[in-house]
């Protein structure tokens, strides 16, 4: 119950996933801007 690994895993996975989505968006935004 009090094992902090559950919290690290939960918050960690969520923020890493959102960060990865943002990086993915930024890559596509740059691709699009280069093509214009």
């Amino acid at each position: 119950m009090n094992n902090p690994m559950y919290l690290v895993a939960g918050y960690g996975i969520t923020f890493v996933a959102i960060l990865a989505y943002l990086l993915h968006l930024r890559k596509r935004e740059r691709d699009v801007d280069r093509e214009r």
Binding site: M1, T14, A17, Y21
Partner: protein, 220 residues
């Protein structure tokens, strides 16, 4: 563009503040101890997921009525955020369920309906990738966006009845005022973050569509 940056900054500060409050400021829960702190991310993320799918439904309806591609692009932006957040909701729920209920998965109506929604909207994204014509794509997608949302209550009810032979999992619902304040703050912060992501994704979709419509022959 400047407004978008500001919104991004506000989302970052808001979500960051909620996380600090949830992890370091609030005392541990009486019954569940430290793991209960997952509530402050699980519930707002689930809220954003449901909000996204509701937006998809609205945008799909608007597309069907007005036939303007901008509604389709907004629906696309919302679906991507919704799929991401639904997947995260399930993962977070699983991580929380293990120490409290002792299992990773429970056939609870809410959990099962969430998992079904995830599959439906992944299907939505796959259907979009199966056509190169923006209008055809938009028509297919809007139809799935509407039916996918309309069926939610029926799916929930059917799983509820299917499950009702078993004891439903219990989760403590009583919350002290400090908890409530942080919860409310999280809802606001994550909704702002959703708005930021949605605007950013929508602008990207607009630009990508413009390039697609221009066609390869005119490319420099």
């Amino acid at each position: 563009m400047k407004g978008q940056k500001t919104l991004g900054l506000v989302s970052l500060v808001g979500v960051g503040a909620c996380t600090i409050f949830a992890l370091f400021v609030l005392p541990p829960d009486r019954l569940q101890g430290e793991v209960q702190r997952l509530l402050y991310i699980h519930v707002p993320i689930a809220w954003v997921a449901m909000l996204s799918f509701f937006m998809v439904f609205l945008m799909s309806l608007l597309y069907v009525v007005q036939r303007k591609l901008k509604w389709d692009l907004m629906a696309l932006a919302a679906v991507e955020i919704g799929v991401l957040c639904t997947a995260l909701t399930l993962v977070l729920g699983s991580i929380w369920a293990k120490p409290t209920w002792g299992v990773w998965w429970e056939w609870d109506p809410r959990i099962t309906t969430t998992a079904i929604l995830l599959i439906v909207y992944i299907g939505y994204l796959i259907v979009r990738s199966m056509s190169d014509d923006p209008d055809q794509r938009a028509r297919w997608a809007s139809v799935i966006g509407i039916i996918g949302f309309v069926q939610v209550p029926v799916v929930y009810l059917s799983v509820f009845w299917w499950r009702s032979l078993h004891q439903p999992p219990s989760s403590p619902r009583s919350m002290a005022s400090a908890f409530g304040t942080v919860m409310l703050l999280s809802f606001v912060a994550y909704t702002v973050a959703f708005t930021y992501l949605m605007i950013r994704r929508y602008r990207l979709a607009q630009k990508e569509l413009a390039i697609e419509m221009r066609g390869p022959e005119e490319a420099p």
